[in-house]
């Protein structure tokens, strides 16, 4: 079974909600995940942030949905860590 363990996203977002509110909203929606946000660029009305989200089984669609609901847009997926857990029935 394939599951996404870690994803690094380059996101453009308005100044408000701020980084704390933005990452808290993601953590509230994606249960059991760990969110790290770093502001990489600040403009007059927007800021570019690098989001590092880690978890056991990350739902990518749900993550992008939360980001867009908070007014952000995913510019690029910079890193992805995916794990394929071996099926217990399969021979080693």
């Amino acid at each position: 079974m394939v599951s996404v363990k870690r994803v690094v996203l380059d996101v453009l977002k308005p100044h408000h909600p701020n980084g704390f509110e933005f990452s808290t909203a993601i953590a509230e929606k994606i249960r059991g995940c760990r969110v790290k946000l770093r502001v990489s660029e600040v403009d007059e009305k927007t800021e570019t942030v690098v989001l590092v989200i880690e978890g056991e089984k990350l739902p990518y669609d749900a993550i992008t949905e939360v980001i867009s609901s908070m007014g952000g847009t995913v510019h690029s997926v910079d890193e992805v860590e995916v794990e394929c857990e071996p099926n217990e029935d399969e021979p080693a």
């Binding site: 007059e44 009305k45 927007t46 867009s68 609901s69 908070m70 007014g71």
Partner: protein, 192 residues
């Protein structure tokens, strides 16, 4: 729903605006009632129904004016903010919390702006009505309404003091002074 509303107020930074509207229009309502009642008090021998209906009419007009003016101006402001943000983001934010806030927040601010003077005025009118219907009349209905108006203005001052972090009594006394000055001016300028 209230949590979502809280988020919208937070991201659009509208809670300060809503608070400001509450105080500004609440103060407007209380001072208008004070002015009307002082005018009736100076005139003397005015029928209760005239006082009651004039105050109620003014209260409703203040409420409607507050609701519509704040809604129209805030809707225009929020739409402008959204359009500018969409240009900066190069994205349609209509379905985001921002888009929802642009539609909902002007209505909430309009309600606050309309309800603040209406509720404060109704409290003043209620004191007028209670004293009028009460069997024991220690003071006249107009005096009771005047006293309530002063108390409401003093309370608004205390609320402002809490926001600014200044001493509550001083903040309350400051707004009370404005109310006393208003009433004195009406007394002084009214032909007896």
């Amino acid at each position: 729903m209230f949590k979502q509303l809280g988020v919208m107020l937070k991201i659009t930074r509208s809670h300060g605006i809503a608070r400001r509207y509450f105080v500004v229009n609440g103060f407007d309502g209380a001072l208008t009632m004070l002015g009307l009642i002082t005018g009736f008090y100076v005139s003397g021998n005015v029928e209760f129904s005239v006082v009651h209906n004039a105050c109620l009419g003014a209260a409703i007009a203040l409420g409607m004016s507050g609701l519509s003016s704040a809604y129209i101006s805030e809707a225009a402001e929020k739409q402008k903010e959204l359009r500018e943000l969409e240009e900066a983001m190069v994205a349609d934010l209509g379905n985001s919390t921002y888009g929802q806030a642009t539609r909902l927040i002007p209505l909430v601010i309009g309600l606050i702006n309309g309800l603040a003077p209406l509720v404060i005025s109704l409290i003043i009118i209620l004191s007028l009505w209670i004293t009028h219907t009460s069997a024991l009349q220690l003071i006249t209905p107009l005096e009771s309404a005047l006293l309530t108006a002063f108390v409401m203005i003093f309370l608004l001052g205390i609320f402002l003091g809490r926001i600014s972090g200044t001493f509550w009594l001083w903040a309350g006394m400051r707004t009370l002074l404005i109310a006393v000055a208003t009433a004195t001016l009406i007394f002084a300028l009214s032909p007896h």
